[in-house]
Symmetry: C2
Subunit: 191 residues, 2 copies
Amino acid sequence: MESVTQSSKEENNVCPYTLWDNCVVFNGKWIQARQVRFKTKNNGQEGVWQSVHRNTKPVGAPADGVSIIAKVTKNAGLIDNGETAEQAAIRELREETGYTCSKVISQSVECFLDPGLTDDSQCFVICEIDGDAKENQNPKQHLDSTEAIEVVLVEHSKLLDYLRNMDKSIAVEAGLYAYAYGAHFAKIFGK
Amino acid sequence: MESVTQSSKEENNVCPYTLWDNCVVFNGKWIQARQVRFKTKNNGQEGVWQSVHRNTKPVGAPADGVSIIAKVTKNAGLIDNGETAEQAAIRELREETGYTCSKVISQSVECFLDPGLTDDSQCFVICEIDGDAKENQNPKQHLDSTEAIEVVLVEHSKLLDYLRNMDKSIAVEAGLYAYAYGAHFAKIFGK
C-alpha cells in the first residue's frame, strides 16, 4: 500500500509533526480513506487526522490532475497513465472546450486542492490558444459519455463580476474564485 | 443521514445527471466516504462516483470553512458551531496571524475546494487590516496546541514569483496558486 510510504515528505526535518498508526479505513475503486495519529514535535500534543486519497494517480505522474489557464478558459481533468501534465492539459483542453493549444507557456509544481482533507493534487498548465487559427474557428467538444460541460468565454477583467452575478444554484470551484480575486485585487492594489 | 438529502441540489432540473443508490461506505468522526450511482439524463450512460464529505459542518453554516483575503494574507479555518463566516474569518485571522481585522469588505458565496472528490467548501471573506493600529504593531498568534503556522508577508505583485521560488519540499495550496496566477495575468492582459 502506498499509504505507508506516502508520509515520507511529512517526516523530513521541516515537518512539525510525528506520524504513526497510518491505516486504511476504506478502500474503494477510486478513493481510499485513511486515518493517522500525530504528535507535535515541540510539545507532544497528540491528535487523529482522517483524510482521503485518489487511487487513480499514475506511478510517476507529477500530480493527480491538471488545471489549464488558457487566457479566459480554465479546465481540470485527471492525468492518464503514461501522460505528462502538459500532454494531459492539451488533451483535456481539446476534449472539454474544443480549442487547440498553440503553445504551452509554463507549468506549475504539484499543488494541493484541499490539503486539510486530501492529497488530491494538480499542476497548473498555462496555454496559448491562437484564436485566428482555422481549427479554433468552430471549436467542438469531445466529451466522455458521462461528462456535461458548457464552455463560457468571459473577459479577464470581468471574471469576478461574472462569478458574483451567476445564478446562485450554480456552485463555483474555489480555485476559479481565487483566480478571479487575484485578478481583481491586482487592479486595485497595483504594484 | 444527511447523505440522502444532500443530493437535492443536484436533482433539480439544471442537473444533467440522475442519482440513486447513495450509500455511506465509511463513516468516521471527521469524514464520511460515500458512493452513488449516476445516469446521464440525455443518453442514459451509467457510472459510479465515490466522494468524501466532512462530518463537522454546523447546521445552517454557509460553508465548511473560510478563506480570508486580507491584503497580503490568506488563511483558512473551519467554521465553528453558531458562527457566521464573517465571525469565523475574524477569529481565524486573529488566531493564525495575530492581526486584528479593522473592516470586513465582502464575502463570497459558498464555493467548493475539490468538487470532483468532495463537497468540502469555503467562503472567501475579504478583510482590511489597519497596519497603523496599536494592536497590529506586534501581532502574536493564538494557535491551537496541534497547529503549526508561520506567517509570511509578501508584496501582492510578487506573490507568483515568491511561490515559484519556494523550496520544492514545501507544498502549495492550489487556491493560493490560482490567486497568484490571477494577479499575474491581470497585469499582463490589462483590461
